[in-house]
């Protein structure tokens, strides 16, 4: 049989096709009929029908989301959110104090304009290439693959970015926005310090004063990052209120913003907060998934089968997943921080162990008690122990498009060590959670199964925590 090569209109990649009459490749020609995708569509239909009236009194409550059957197969129904009110289904929104509303609306307008500004994307792309070091490689983890004996494991090496994590992708985008808005001062919150370092970095680069709010407890846990921020010229303000961790740092940043509305831009670090932040941060992080798509097509001639990423607020995972949401064959797994285990209550798994609520400007899944009081998350990873999660993840969880799992501190620690010894890479404790799930799932998958795990940060910052956990002296 002759093999035809022509570009597929869904994955834009030339693949051998057995049915030349179609303009899509074999994978896409076999389409939605195989296994998991059918289940996705089935579950989605049910949620659309049952879920719609739950959208509290909205005028569009009865309008169902378009189903893949009712639209062009190439039109992606999972990527159209948020709506004009900033909602992903029930989640998201703009739950902020009135003082901040004009600012939120201003950011929304400015970002809306920017999205269609070609010059902006050219400028951003240039910084991502020459300053951040993108594209980050897609690396075939050969030794880990043969160790597990299952799926072909690829690492998306976002830990090789300038400042050592994916956070900088978003910071470069937002600082360019802040500059165009004429803002003269930047504030940010940080947990593990990675977002604080990335924000301090871009502020130094663009000559803007930077104030970073960080929980006093986190400052103690992440001293090296505190020092890095100060070296970069940022003011790091210890937050002594509440539980003195990330959620309190976010409260304090919001309080700062309320008090300095005229000149200050709040550079939020994850795909959460009031609209338009969840959508904007996702857009800036989607470079991760877009690169993976091209790189995997170049390496294997087809799209990946499974994507795995860790979830705190969820920006690295959304960045990887979002460009693939309309590919029903691509399975996606978000890995939450299970801490000591979901049943112990000491965890940071908002989706698996939390309930919907409203905090920090959006409705999403939260760790909270029966009275709606916010609970502290626990994770060995300071970057994951936030009691909430981005609203788009909440929606993707409810629709079933993305599968969410949790791994414990111990499992993450074991995966960290395995990765260090087999691949010569020290991952951050955050992506070590994703690796821990790969360790469980990979062995049972076929050897031609393509699995991508987002290595969203490097582990240098965590060596003290890990030494503690392993009860080893440095």
């Amino acid at each position: 049989m002759s093999v035809l090569l022509s570009p597929c209109h869904r994955c834009r990649w030339a693949t051998p096709r057995s049915r030349p009459a179609l303009t899509i490749c074999q994978r896409h020609a076999s389409g939605v009929g195989v296994g998991v995708p059918t289940a996705f569509l089935e579950k989605r239909r049910r949620i659309d029908t049952v879920g719609a009236p739950l959208i509290l009194g909205r005028s569009d409550a009865t309008a169902p989301y378009p189903t893949p059957e009712s639209v062009m197969p190439s039109l992606n129904t999972y990527r159209s959110g948020p709506d004009e009110a900033g909602r992903f289904g029930l989640y998201g929104g703009r739950f902020v104090a009135e003082t901040l509303m004009p600012l939120i609306l201003e950011v929304e307008r400015a970002y809306g304009d920017l999205k269609h500004d070609r010059d902006f994307w050219v400028e951003l792309s240039s910084f991502l290439t020459h300053y951040v070091g993108r594209p980050s490689p897609l690396y075939f983890a050969e030794r880990l693959t043969s160790h597990f004996g299952g799926a072909k494991i690829y690492f998306k090496r976002d830990e090789l970015n300038h400042t050592g994590a994916h956070k900088i992708n978003n910071c470069v985008g937002q600082i360019l926005l802040a500059r165009r808005m004429g803002k003269r001062r930047i504030i940010a919150e940080t947990g593990a310090g990675q977002h604080g370092v990335a924000t301090a970095t871009v502020c130094a680069r663009f000559g803007l004063p930077c104030t970073v709010y960080m929980g006093a407890v986190d400052m103690e846990r992440q001293k090296p990052n505190v020092f890095r921020m100060r070296l970069l010229g940022a003011e790091v303000v210890p937050v002594e209120s509440g539980a003195r961790t990330l959620k309190d740092a976010m409260n304090e940043a919001l309080r700062d913003w309320v008090a300095n509305v005229d000149d200050t831009y709040y550079l939020i670090g994850t795909a959460a907060g009031p609209h338009p932040y969840p959508a904007m941060v996702r857009d800036f992080q989607s470079i991760i998934g877009s690169e993976v798509r091209d790189q995997m097509l170049a390496a294997e001639g087809r799209l990946p089968d499974t994507l795995v990423a860790c979830i705190g607020g969820g920006s690295n995972a959304l960045g990887l997943f979002h460009p693939f949401l309309d590919e029903p064959e691509v399975r996606m797994i978000g890995v939450e921080a299970g801490g000591h285990g979901i049943t112990t209550g000491a965890h940071a798994a908002s989706l698996l162990g939390g309930r919907p609520g409203v905090l920090h400007g959006n409705r999403t899944y939260l760790l909270q008690d029966d009275e709606g009081q916010i609970l502290e998350g626990h994770s060995i990873s300071a970057g994951l122990d936030y009691p909430g999660i981005g609203p788009e993840h909440a929606w993707l969880h409810d629709t079933g498009r993305v599968e969410y799992v949790a791994v414990t501190d111990q499992e993450a620690l074991a995966a960290f060590q395995l990765c260090a010894r087999l691949e010569g890479i020290l991952p951050a404790l955050e992506p070590a959670h994703a690796l821990a799930h790969v360790a469980m799932r990979s062995p049972v998958l076929a050897t031609d199964h393509l699995l991508v795990v987002n290595l969203c940060g490097r582990g240098d910052k965590d060596i003290f925590t890990i030494a503690d956990a392993l009860e080893t002296a440095l």
Partner: protein, 295 residues
């Protein structure tokens, strides 16, 4: 409650309207006092509530405790945490109001707080229970007009006033949005900032209140940063009410022992402060000012 009954709007209690009408007749502004429900404990808070009207509080704002009050300064944050630690719940907050109503059926009670505890309790259930307990209005900081369908409209339907915050960042266009479904009174936030921190300039407040009056016939209360009787008096000259929160809550904190238990001096000390604030408010209009023509 049957489905048909749920369709019928509940009439508002009218206490807020009656109180502002009475103040207008007296030719003076009112004093709105804020305390956090269950702070420092349930019993002490109930005693405080009983004493507030006698000490000169014309309206009572009762804070619904929340772990993460983003618009509040250190004093009210601490009050929330004290109350939660002492076992405050939404049920008990409503019990405090119901208890207060047994001895006072005229002083308006407005619940102030954040959306999540209400959302968790169940919005419909909350509105119903609040109206039954004798609550007259709600101020929920993190539900702006963009989210009216979440809480504001259901609250109005359930017979509760929904009091919105107008701020220095609300321009004329924004004010129309803010005031659209506001009822009872308008709460003007005098500063861009959190509760109990900086203090606004009196001229700025006068200008802002005048601007608000061009947009609404509702009474205007002014709060955030009012700490001493003289400031309350200055606000009373131009506004229909002055709101004092952090100063009262701070006074509560001053009268706790090392273990956070209330000292016997607590209630008298708060009463004394409220009396002084009330005197300040009443003296504010002595220069023959009347509501409506303030500038």
């Amino acid at each position: 409650m049957s489905g048909a009954a749920e369709q019928t709007p509940v009439a508002e209690s009218g206490r807020i309207r009656h109180r502002f009408e009475a103040l207008r007749r007296e030719g003076r502004a009112g004093l709105v006092t804020f305390v956090t429900a269950g702070d420092p404990d349930h019993g002490t808070c109930a005693a405080l509530l009983q004493h507030l009207p006698g000490a000169g509080a014309d309206l009572i704002e009762l804070g619904m405790p929340f772990t993460d009050p983003m618009a509040d300064g250190p004093a009210i944050q601490a009050a929330s945490l004290r109350a939660i630690k002492a076992g405050a719940t939404m049920e008990r907050t409503l019990d405090l109001v119901a208890g207060f109503r047994q001895q006072d059926d005229e002083t308006p009670v407005v619940l102030m707080g954040y959306y999540n505890p209400i959302f968790r309790f169940g919005t419909e259930r909350f509105l119903d229970a609040a109206r039954q307990a004798g609550v007259d209005g709600l101020i929920v900081v993190d539900v702006p007009p963009e989210e009216d369908e979440e809480l504001c409209l259901p609250a109005l339907h359930a017979g509760l006033n929904f009091i919105r915050l107008a701020t220095p960042t609300s321009d004329d266009v924004r004010l129309r949005t803010v005031l659209r479904h506001t009822s009872g009174f308008v709460y003007y936030v005098a500063i861009t900032g959190i509760t109990g921190t900086s203090t606004a300039d009196n001229v700025d407040i006068a200008t802002a209140v005048t601007r608000l009056r061009r947009h609404t016939a509702l009474p205007v209360a002014v709060g955030f940063g009012i700490k001493i009787p003289m400031q309350a008096g200055a606000v009373a000259r131009v506004a229909d009410a002055a709101v004092v929160g952090s100063a009262i809550v701070g006074r509560i904190a001053d009268h706790l022992d090392g273990d956070g238990r209330p000292q016997p001096s607590l209630v008298p000390a708060v009463v004394e402060l409220v009396e002084a604030l009330a005197a300040g408010v009443r003296a504010g209009r002595d220069k023959d000012r009347s509501i409506g023509n303030a500038t």
